[in-house]
């Protein structure tokens, strides 16, 4: 077993729990930096896409996993980010600046939606965000030459000093850096007062208010930040796929994102990565399994969304802490072997908590 001795308060708010953990991440980082120079093109592209899903997932995790608000329309923010980015490019704004502006624009949209929608909670909020996503999709479709309408448009490529943005290695490095910065910013926020306020709202709105936390203000803030981060992922995604049209980001994308945070593990930064790996690999697994199934199932059009939806529900019921939660249990099992008690993770009876403000 590993015991961490604490000698200074600073240790409790470091980004890493202890030196061993930090070193593991350093090794991982070195591997990720070396990867594009040894892997084949195809895998470099797949990894870049994984990083983009991680960034989008970070945005939604902040909202769902850390603030306890559900959005069924986060694809809309990806779309807003992607389109803003590409349209800015068309009007001559160069690549790194356009991405930042795209993030700010979807953040601003998130703020406006947040102010309107956050008076609602739970299912009402989920439905409102769903409606919003639908409106954005239609709006883009009707946008004429400005948004490329239903036919969409090509995404411009950039060249700086002889290197092209769509070069797999260059794009990989851009995605990796964006992801690391995003995770670092979120990690910082979570160990600061604002992050704690989000978590407080997630756990008990009543108590949060009694602690002087302004619910409307912090929920709106969380929504705006979440929309901004997801928008940034959308902007990168535009370069990845090279062509945009309204159906690039649909309700299915929103569900995939929701699945990422739920399956990965709500309220965990590791969960973002696990979840992103899961949603990236699942379509490939489905494709493999599809060949083994009888024709009348495998040729059905809705197979993929159906599998996604079923897994989402299964996780909500059987493994609410997600893949990361399962990993924590496995790790504890080995570190305490043979003293592991199954009841360690049993939910304690939540003592007579009532809906009323008792």
């Amino acid at each position: 077993m590993l015991f961490v001795f604490k000698t200074a308060y600073e240790q409790d708010f470091g980004l890493f729990k202890h030196a061993i953990q930090r070193n593991c991440y350093l090794v991982l980082l070195v591997l990720l930096v070396v990867a594009p120079f040894v892997l084949e093109r195809f895998y470099i592209g797949e990894l870049s896409e994984l990083f983009i899903w991680c960034i989008a997932g970070t945005g939604l995790m902040l909202l769902v996993g850390y603030t306890g608000l559900v959005s069924l329309g986060h694809a809309a923010f990806m779309a807003l980010g992607a389109y803003t980015n590409v349209i800015l490019n068309k009007y001559g704004v160069p690549f790194p600046i356009s991405i930042i502006l795209a993030a700010f624009f979807s953040g601003a949209c998130g703020l406006v939606i947040g102010v309107a929608a956050l008076r609602m909670t739970g299912i009402y909020l989920a439905v409102a965000t769903l409606a919003f996503a639908y409106i954005v999709e239609k709006f883009i479709g009707q946008g004429g030459s400005f948004t490329g309408g239903h036919r969409g448009f090509r995404v411009e490529n950039f060249e700086y000093f002889g290197v092209y943005l769509n070069d797999p290695v260059v794009f990989y490095i851009i995605c990796l850096i964006t992801l690391l910065v995003t995770l670092w910013l979120l990690g910082n926020l979570l160990r600061s007062p604002t992050g704690r306020a989000f978590v407080a709202i997630r756990d008990s709105e009543i108590s949060a208010q009694a602690m002087g936390i302004d619910l409307v203000r912090y929920k709106t803030l969380s929504f705006a930040l979440s929309a901004g981060i997801t928008g940034m992922a959308g902007a990168l995604y535009a370069y990845k796929i090279g062509y945009l049209y309204p159906e690039t980001f649909t309700i299915f994308t929103s569900i995939k994102l929701l699945m990422l945070v739920v399956v990965g593990g709500l309220g965990s930064m590791h969960g973002i990565v696990f979840g992103a790996m899961f949603i990236s690999l699942l379509p490939q697994i489905i494709a493999l399994v599809r060949d083994l199934l009888p024709i009348w199932i495998s040729q059905r059009r809705g197979l993929e969304p159906f599998v996604f939806g079923s897994i989402l529900i299964a996780f909500l019921i059987f493994e609410p802490k997600g893949i990361y939660g399962r990993w924590v249990k496995i790790r504890l099992f080995f570190s305490q072997f043979p003293m592991y008690r199954k009841s360690t993770f049993k939910r304690q009876k939540s003592f007579l908590r009532t809906e009323r403000v008792h």
Binding site: Y9, F13, L189, M211
Partner: protein, 252 residues
């Protein structure tokens, strides 16, 4: 000096008058208790003071300022902290973070400095932590600092909630049945802590309580309620020997 004045406050839910024209004034440094049979409206009075409910009629004044209309989250900033009858903690957090959430109402960092965890954010975290540790020491929570609330026994949760309320550094502390669910030893500890909070920290307390021993041991004055109305107010002896009170408890 009076700290809090409730001037004939009332509230009804549907047809039920949960609190009916109740008036009282709590002096600075006083421990003012509220007792009464189940459903008398005691918790509702605390909910009115902490602005979870809006008063239908009447006024609340805190430090000479009318707080009848302030927003719920501003109550803490004004210096009023509370605990809940069945505890209402941040379940998926540790004891320490529960306290830090309370301490941070005095924060002076903005979103951007926090995102980059600038030195001033770090300094602020250290000062919150030191203050949280003072309260952990005061209430003997050292062993539970890093434990998740969801894994704690009820008694410790109650103490944690008291610690969290103290972390707001309030002038007025509202306690809703602090001893319910505690065993006799824990209740004994609680009575010492309550006296410490009152005498050493100089915090004024309004306490809803059923335990007669605790009540008469620590209270300066007691308000007795039944069916939403005031029966009597006085010293613990006066209140408990009042004929209406005896009648209310024994039933007619």
């Amino acid at each position: 000096m009076t700290l809090l004045v409730a001037d004939s406050i009332s509230i009804s839910f549907g047809g039920v008058k949960a609190v009916n024209q109740v008036s009282f004034a709590v002096k600075q440094g006083e421990l003012f208790s509220i007792m009464g049979p189940n459903g008398a409206g005691k918790t509702t009075v605390l909910n009115l003071i902490s602005r979870f409910y809006d008063v239908d009629e009447g006024n609340l004044t805190f430090e000479g300022e009318d707080i009848t209309q302030v927003k719920t989250h501003q109550v803490a900033t004004k210096g009023i902290a509370r605990t809940f009858q069945n505890t209402e903690l941040f379940e998926h957090e540790t004891v320490l973070s529960n306290l830090l959430i309370a301490h941070q109402q005095h924060k002076n960092t903005g979103l951007f400095s926090e995102m980059f965890f600038l030195p001033k954010v770090k300094r602020q975290e250290l000062s919150f932590r030191r203050r949280a540790e003072d309260i952990i020491d005061l209430l003997d929570l050292q062993g539970y600092r890093d434990q998740m609330i969801s894994s704690l026994p009820f008694g410790i949760r109650k103490v944690t909630e008291l610690a969290r309320a103290l972390s707001l550094e309030p002038k007025l502390l509202l306690l809703d049945e602090p001893s319910s669910g505690l065993n006799p030893e824990e209740t004994e500890d609680l009575s010492f802590w309550i006296e410490d909070i009152k005498e050493e920290l100089g915090i004024t307390i309004i306490m809803v309580e059923h335990d007669m021993n605790l009540l008469s041991q620590v209270s300066d004055r007691v308000l007795v309620m039944a069916d939403g109305s005031e029966l009597t107010t006085g010293t613990p002896e006066e209140a408990t020997s009042h004929p209406d009170v005896i009648k209310a408890y024994l039933g007619d």
